[in-house]
């Protein structure tokens, strides 16, 4: 009887999770999705807790209370820190899967070796490999995003890197096969931790050669791994709810990773093993090109005459926390009857959808956030294109320069606008270490300085002038 009730409850929870994701298809219904998700999860937790096999409650209560104590502050981080929060939660997901897999193995080894069938062993090995490599890999990614000092930001490479990583993974898989063939051998409990250590090491080594520009893809891939480790846990525990929920998460991560890869015109393998973002030493030679600088006053006058302004935000806007100033500028321009649109590149920022969330935080209506493919047709009619802390996503070299590492990547056609203003903190090249031809175009004027200050100046100029009339 309790079994039947539990199964029905798990089916209801699965349906609620599917609705939760379905309602994310438009901002108007998305919050309903959150409520559906919470309802599904509450049902799953309560029904599991009520199982007759669950007899000790103290540690469950302690762990749940501790989860709330850490989870609530983690939900209130500044929105610029959302990428590292997301990476951290993938780490937690991987850790949970790895630990449950480990616990189940040792439990069955001592109290029910007949349960360690070949199929269960394969599932356990997959669960701990995925779980523990996601754990350390995501911690490394979170550390890179948080810019922790002892974790190198730039990709770290060394000779035979891919080969040694591959050998490490093969070794872990080989030991896993040995364990699957002899799950109850006397040496098996000693071999198991070795596989865990190899998975942990592989996670670190996988992320070390990856640079900041590739973080959106890598976060999406780690998302998929975290989901798949939950699926493996479902196979171990013979639990279909774990499998369905894990599969939803896994397919979400996979689709996001594919979208990110397409937006950079690169393959999975290239992102994971390409060490994108190394400083291009050979590029340093060549003539010294000249920037043309403009003042806030001059830029404000040009903006005032425009009828269509397109703003291209990038990671620099997030770093400078400039989104609220951008909104003030948006309001000033709107007041003059100027059409203002935001051009959002899929990989702008450090995670999928990063820019949309920051601009929504600043109260900019989401109807004015336009995807790259939709805005590019309008760019020739654009009077002023204002680039705020974006770099590679507006670099025309992606279209023209076959030697450029970003060649072939779809970009926002900022260079087709009548006038381009680019806000830049310094004269150094961007994260990918590539010079941007856009800045040397004869229609481009640079506004040097911190994005927040520069836009603040523009707003002041526009507000001041409107006050005089």
């Amino acid at each position: 009887m309790t079994h039947a009730i539990a199964q029905v409850a798990y089916i209801v929870a699965t349906a609620l999770f599917i609705f939760a994701l379905h309602w994310m298809n438009t901002p108007a219904t998305a919050r309903k999705g959150v409520y559906a998700g919470v309802a599904g999860m509450t049902i799953a937790v309560l029904v599991t807790w009520a199982q007759p096999a669950v007899v000790h409650h103290l540690w469950i209560v302690v762990a749940i209370v501790a989860g709330f104590a850490v989870g609530v502050p983690l939900a209130n981080v500044p929105l610029t820190a959302v990428p590292q929060r997301t990476a951290l939660s993938h780490a937690f997901g991987g850790l949970a899967a790895g630990l449950v897999g480990t616990a189940k193995y040792y439990l069955w080894y001592s109290e029910g070796p007949e349960n360690l069938t070949a199929f269960r062993m394969v599932a356990i090995i997959l669960e701990i490999l995925l779980g523990f490599l996601t754990f350390t890999g995501s911690l490394m990614a979170a550390g890179k995003l948080q810019e922790i000092k002892w974790i190198p930001q730039r990709p770290v490479t060394y000779p035979f890197q891919n080969l040694s990583n591959l050998l490490l993974l093969l070794l872990a898989v080989g030991l896993g096969v040995a364990l699957t063939l002899h799950p109850t051998a006397p040496w098996a409990p000693q071999l198991f931790p070795v596989i865990i250590v190899l998975a942990l090491a592989f996670g670190v080594l996988l992320i070390i050669p990856i640079g900041g520009a590739d973080m959106p893809t890598v976060i999406a891939i780690l998302n998929a791994y975290a989901g798949l480790s939950a699926v493996a846990m479902g196979f171990v525990l013979d639990n279909k709810l774990l499998i369905t929920a894990g599969a939803l998460d896994g397919s979400s991560g996979l689709i996001l990773a594919i979208i990110m890869c397409k937006a950079m015109n690169r393959s999975f393998t290239n992102v994971l093993f390409g060490a994108f973002g190394q400083v291009q030493a050979a590029k340093a030679i060549g003539e010294q090109k000249q920037y043309k600088a403009e003042t806030a006053e001059g830029a404000a006058q040009v903006l005032e005459q425009a009828s269509l302004v397109v703003i291209v935000p990038g990671y620099g806007m997030a770093v400078a926390q400039a989104q609220h100033k951008v909104r003030e500028l948006y309001d000033q321009l709107k007041k003059r009857g100027i059409t203002v649109k935001f051009a959002i590149h899929p990989v702008a920022g450090r995670m999928p959808g990063h820019m949309n969330v920051l601009l929504a935080e600043a109260d900019i209506p989401y109807t004015d956030l336009v995807e790259m493919d939709e805005i590019n047709g309008d760019m020739p009619q654009c009077d002023v294109c204002l680039v705020v802390g974006a770099n590679d996503v507006v670099n025309p070299a992606a279209r023209s320069d076959k030697a450029s590492p970003i060649f072939g990547m779809p970009i926002i056609d900022a260079d087709k606008a009548r006038t381009i203003f680019a806000i830049k903190r310094s004269k150094n090249p961007g994260f990918a270490g590539i010079d941007n031809e856009l800045y040397f175009s004869d229609r481009t004027w640079m506004l040097f300085g911190d994005a927040k200050n520069v836009i603040g100046e523009l707003v002041k100029q526009l507000a001041g002038e409107s006050g005089m009339h």
Partner: protein, 122 residues
């Protein structure tokens, strides 16, 4: 190839009597494949505007690992097994709480032109 053979061996043949210790491998695989297709279909239609909230809500949903963690923590098992379960439960619960809360917090910010104003921003 050997792995595949192993899997085939592991899966109980439909008419070969009962195998009490083992799970219904093909049934589980069936569920996994169907759930992945549903996932692909649903996720593909998610608005690009919402990819960040999508990631945080799927984080919370994949913390369904909480189910396994509760069973391990609360069962009649040796303390070191329960301890692993408790840490896993803590990690999953953190993801559930922070995942849903931050998704809700982000989604509240997405407004159309006529609905904005009034609400102040920090």
């Amino acid at each position: 190839m050997s792995l595949l053979a192993l899997l085939a061996q592991a899966a109980p043949a439909p008419a070969a009597g009962h195998a009490p210790a083992d799970a219904d491998f093909w049934g589980l695989l069936f569920v996994f494949v169907l759930a992945s297709f549903i996932g692909m279909g649903v996720i593909r239609r998610v608005s690009r505007l919402l990819h960040t909230p999508l990631m945080s809500i799927t984080n919370a949903i994949s913390a369904i690992a909480v189910v396994g963690a509760i069973l391990v923590t609360g069962g009649e098992y040796p303390p070191h097994i329960q301890a692993m379960g408790a840490v896993a439960l803590f990690a999953s619960m953190t993801n559930i709480v922070s995942g849903f809360l931050i998704t809700n917090r982000m989604l509240k910010m997405f407004k159309t032109d006529d609905k904005r104003g009034g609400g102040g921003h920090a």
